[in-house]
Symmetry: C2
Subunit: 457 residues, 2 copies
């Protein structure tokens, strides 16, 4: 599709965003309920389209052009997926309004009040692969937080997402929210054109593979919120408790190996190679985890008698690149290091600054690790798998960010808002800067306590 | 200079940042006092170098290769510039520590505590033009907030900034902070190379002309915090008070016309062209402000008797481009519009989303304007010139951001921090995700009240 169309789409989204600024939070909640109703009404038709997407995808899988796992993610009728997608809309509707709250308020002078107030960001461009329910999730989050959105799903789910988007539009049409508040696009060419339109689009949220995220980061000036890598580590400290080590490492690796918050690098303090490491290795091998070991961790296993299970098939020497690899399966890279300090340096060099955990009984080591490791999450005696918006208590998750600014780690609805400053003078002749200065008025900067801006209606 | 050197500089900065994570806030304050001492000690030498920079610059000005205003900004010995630069270090030292505070805390399960804690961002690359004191300002802010910094000044201030940077290093050498925590570089080629190193550099802060900022935004994947444009508006509402209108417009335009928070577009509600506009125009013309008027505002002045002063010389018809021009001098573009709604649309289209003000006695119009205008600052009966970190009460200013995420509007020390999540399990056998789920443990998400992370030492 041409640049001209992308421009129209982006401009329409920006106008819809601006036109919706006076719409109340309760109207946005109403919109979510209306979308829920439309989806219920259109359920049969949508699931029929989903079946067609699935049939087409099965042909591609047979031809070797699509992965089995992508196919699985397409299916909207699997298990309770449909019901939980719909429940998700009601859950988002029930969350507290993320806009309107005041985070800083000050009376700069008698009668001159300044408020920093949470507000939506603007136009979100959301690009995702396969899972069609993401259309509904993200549309709900965008509407709840007052942002307009342009959604682009994978081509393999086109039939499904088109009908989901239609139901969203039908729901919106029964509210005061502009029709073009949530738009969906179909082609990659449109995405490329949209990524150039930083006058209209304020934030890009890619949800999908590393290559998708990196490709987008390389091709836009618009801020991107997402994570390209999830290379997490667990460090077994000198003072680690063996039971805790076994449980934390095992859960971090096997609970869901394909997730970004699964552990990929295990670091052993050298004093633990003959104590904590053997039972940890045994548990991992029993769970069918392949271990890529440096010489220290490998030799410690070789001298064991009896040998741990599957030594021949599951244990192999590591290579330097092993420690920079996001395995995303039942493989773990293992290295022995001489100190807590060297472990922190190793993590800061090799991890993706996502989530890293220490197993230790030492309060001092825990404190040094949490301060020294430069990651979005630093944990003590807890599985890296806890890095998740729902587990953190955000009610829902926009995504996980490995960026450092705006939002870091699991991102809830807060990640879709920014703030603006509002100021009002109540003085009889307004407030001007020229009245302040040496020999003139001085700023008072009296803290105000306000949950909301008092002069907004 | 070669890419190899830029890589070394950036890598050294990242390592200095990581190595400094265990350094206390009080040591960072000590460093600021040591830098203050070094600058005092080296004052004569620095001011001598500044004289040499000035002499070289004067030659360039005479040859027409440098502007007079750039020359003025170079002079460190002018007025109280030296003293206020040094006082600035002590002021920053005295501000509250921006790191370590907890903004979210939750007990996810019995004995599993999660804290979101403010922490430095990492390595800042600060690029600025002319004013050599910015080296000291920014180094102070970076050290106070725990960030490492790479500083690049204008080539016209090379002799001065080299010695300022040397004093900073001397001061740091008397503390536990790594020597390469603050580095300075000299050439544009090094900047280009550094802009590619997003593995090491976390935030770019350009302080200078629009073209500098835009050029940087176009040439890096690293987040950029700055403002490229300052195109502010004042809207005279139907219910404007004339005295307030005159004062707000005049101050917004003439207090400091070269500043980004000065007004460039004046929008008149059509009902005010024969009432509020004539006295506003008279005051502007008496202050020597050139008015670029649309036909409505021009005709309203032409029918006046007596004519306002300087009508022949200072009033001219506007062109469509007038309303997209940041004049940065005593020029104001004026337009008449039929409604508050059309004024908001006009501002959202033509302003740079920096700061916009309404003059009105109507609470309803004030509320609609503040919600509807999509800018970092929306004011009621107050001069746009209030958009400033010091005036907002932040104690100091990192800059003003027209970006929407991370930091928006005037940015204080808060703009140099991000957050990370720290989690600790106190359970006898650690915490793992596999223990939670249907038929198993449920998350508790009990709010915790903590000003700091209790397990950090």
């Amino acid at each position: 599709m041409s640049t001209f169309n992308a421009h129209d789409i982006a401009k329409a989204a920006k106008h819809a965003f601006q036109d919706a600024q006076l719409i109340s939070a309760s109207e946005r909640v109403k919109a979510l309920h209306e979308i829920w109703k439309s989806l219920q009404t259109n359920k049969a038709e949508i699931l029929q389209a989903n079946q067609e997407d699935l049939k087409a995808a099965e042909i591609e899988v047979k031809a070797g052009d699509m992965s089995e796992s992508l196919l699985k993610r397409l299916d909207l009728n699997k298990g309770d997926k449909w019901d939980s997608m719909l429940q998700g809309i009601l859950d988002v509707a029930a969350l507290p309004d993320p806009t309107g709250s005041v985070s800083y308020a000050s009376e700069l002078d008698d009668g001159l009040e300044l408020y920093r107030v949470a507000c939506p960001i603007g136009v979100l461009l959301v690009i995702f692969e396969a899972r069609p329910e993401v259309v509904v999730n993200i549309a709900s989050l965008a509407i709840k937080s007052g942002n307009a959105a342009i959604l682009k799903g994978g081509k393999e789910s086109n039939r499904t997402t088109t009908l989901l988007a239609k139901s969203i539009s039908e729901g919106l049409a029964r509210t005061a929210i502009p029709e073009l508040y949530v738009q969906s696009i179909q082609t990659r060419a449109e995405v490329s054109s949209l990524l150039e339109l930083d006058d209209y689009i304020d934030l890009v949220i890619p949800r999908g593979s590393n290559s998708l995220v990196k490709n987008i980061q390389n091709n836009t000036r618009i801020p991107v919120m997402g994570h390209a890598d999830g290379l997490c580590s667990v460090f077994i400290d000198q003072q680690a408790d063996t039971t805790k080590a076994v449980r934390v490492v095992l859960d971090s690796k096997i609970d869901y190996p394909a997730a970004c918050n699964s552990v990929e690098n295990l670091i052993l303090h050298e004093s633990t190679v003959h104590t904590v490491w053997p039972p940890v290795a045994k548990a991992l091998l029993e769970a069918n985890v392949k271990l890529l070991c440096d010489s220290g961790s490998l030799n410690a296993l070789k001298v064991l008698s009896p040998q741990p299970p599957h030594m021949e098939t599951l244990v192999a020497p590591s290579e330097p690149s092993s420690y920079d690899t996001e395995h995303l399966n039942l493989t773990l890279s293992v290295i022995v290091l001489p100190s807590l300090q060297s472990a922190i340096q190793f993590i800061n060099t090799h991890s993706s600054h996502h989530t890293d955990s220490i197993v230790t009984e030492s309060d001092e080591a825990a404190s040094i690790f949490c301060r020294g490791v430069d990651s979005a999450g630093t944990y003590v005696n807890a599985s890296t798998r806890f890095a998740d918006g729902f587990r953190y208590g955000f009610g829902t998750e926009v995504g996980i960010s490995t960026g450092r600014i705006h939002a870091r780690g699991p991102v809830g609805l807060d990640g879709l808002v920014t703030y603006k400053y509002m100021m009002k003078s109540k003085a009889p002749s307004a407030h001007v800067v020229g009245d302040f200065g040496t020999g003139k008025k001085q700023y008072k900067h009296r803290a105000l306590h306000a949950a909301a801006v008092p002069f907004l209606k």
